[in-house]
Amino acid sequence: MDFKSSDTVPGPRAEDHLPHTTQAAVKIVIVGGFGVGKTTMVGSVSEIRPLTTEETMTQAGIGVDDNYGSDTKTATTVAMDFGRISITEQLVLYLFGTPGQERFWFLWNGLFEGALGAVVLLDTRRLEVSFDVIGRLEERGVPFVVAVNSFPDAPRYPTAELRGALDLPEEIPIIECDARRRASSREVLMTLMRFLHSLAVQHVPA
């Protein structure tokens, strides 16, 4: 494998080091179609410059020695941008901007299963791109909110009409946002957290 010498690997900047007291991480997934603003949203709230993790999907030749037959494999690289927000000295939050196609989701172990919840980011010019994502989250029982990224030339629908089109129950928040603005993206995350909290409150035993 072609690998850079360990001295040349650029690690985190000194100010990006997590404190040694950090005990655990939680994650939130931002899911949506290509160009909907996932990376923009991650970048607007992240304390670190957004990073990219990737995974390779091998279509054939699994288990074949890497030195042989590598030209007979078709490999698709799927990338995911992510960012980070320190919550306390013990807890850190990661945000993952994830492609909408479900066939990519299982590449990353427990991406959705372990997430506190998800933000479905959508563009009203291509609303139907989100239909499949919403169905999959419902099936998997992943709690989510919907954020409409306001592109200037996109059609604007009243929330009730959008809710009808997406066939979502009243309790699932739908909000508008501008993924480029930190305050707006933070409000999306706060909306998700308040929604999750309301689910927790419902679970309090009588």
Partner: protein
């Protein structure tokens, strides 16, 4: 203008099909990185958990002379806690390759893993409140 209408799929009550790796799953074959498990160190009774994107890794020993360049680079990176996702990004290695590297380093006790907090059926309100408080400071 009317938006397009989502139609719920019919078989909603059925669990989604298990993703099948290319070539099909083979009994006893453990090559798939999704099937690699590590010691979390946290759970009682030595319970095993999979390596997650946000498992935090901390180096606990200097690289031995036998360490590969990848292992040395990883050990250098994780002097302060770092998520598996960040390791993958900084080393420019796919997530699956990093989990394989980590499995070896965990076995050799050169690194420690701090398991993430995952979603529970009944959400943990104090955790959610902590996250909200953290976001408010942003």
């Amino acid at each position: 203008m009317t938006p397009p209408q989502r139609r719920r799929r019919q078989s909603r009550e059925q669990p989604p099909p298990e993703p099948v790796a290319a070539g099909g799953p083979k009994e006893g074959e453990q090559k798939n990185p999704e099937r690699l498990y590590i010691l979390t160190g946290a759970a009682a009774g030595g319970e095993r958990a999979p390596i997650d994107l946000v498992t935090l890794i901390v180096t606990s020993a200097d690289p031995p002379p036998t360490a590969t360049p990848e292992q040395s680079a990883l050990l250098r990176l994780c002097r302060a806690p770092l998520s598996v996702a960040e390791i993958s990004a900084y080393l420019s290695l796919p997530f699956g390759v990093v989990t394989v590297l980590l499995t070896d380093l965990l076995t050799a006790e050169l690194v420690q893993a701090r398991a993430p907090i995952v979603r529970q059926a009944v959400p943990d309100r104090s955790l959610l409140e902590a996250v909200m408080h953290g976001l408010q400071k942003l």
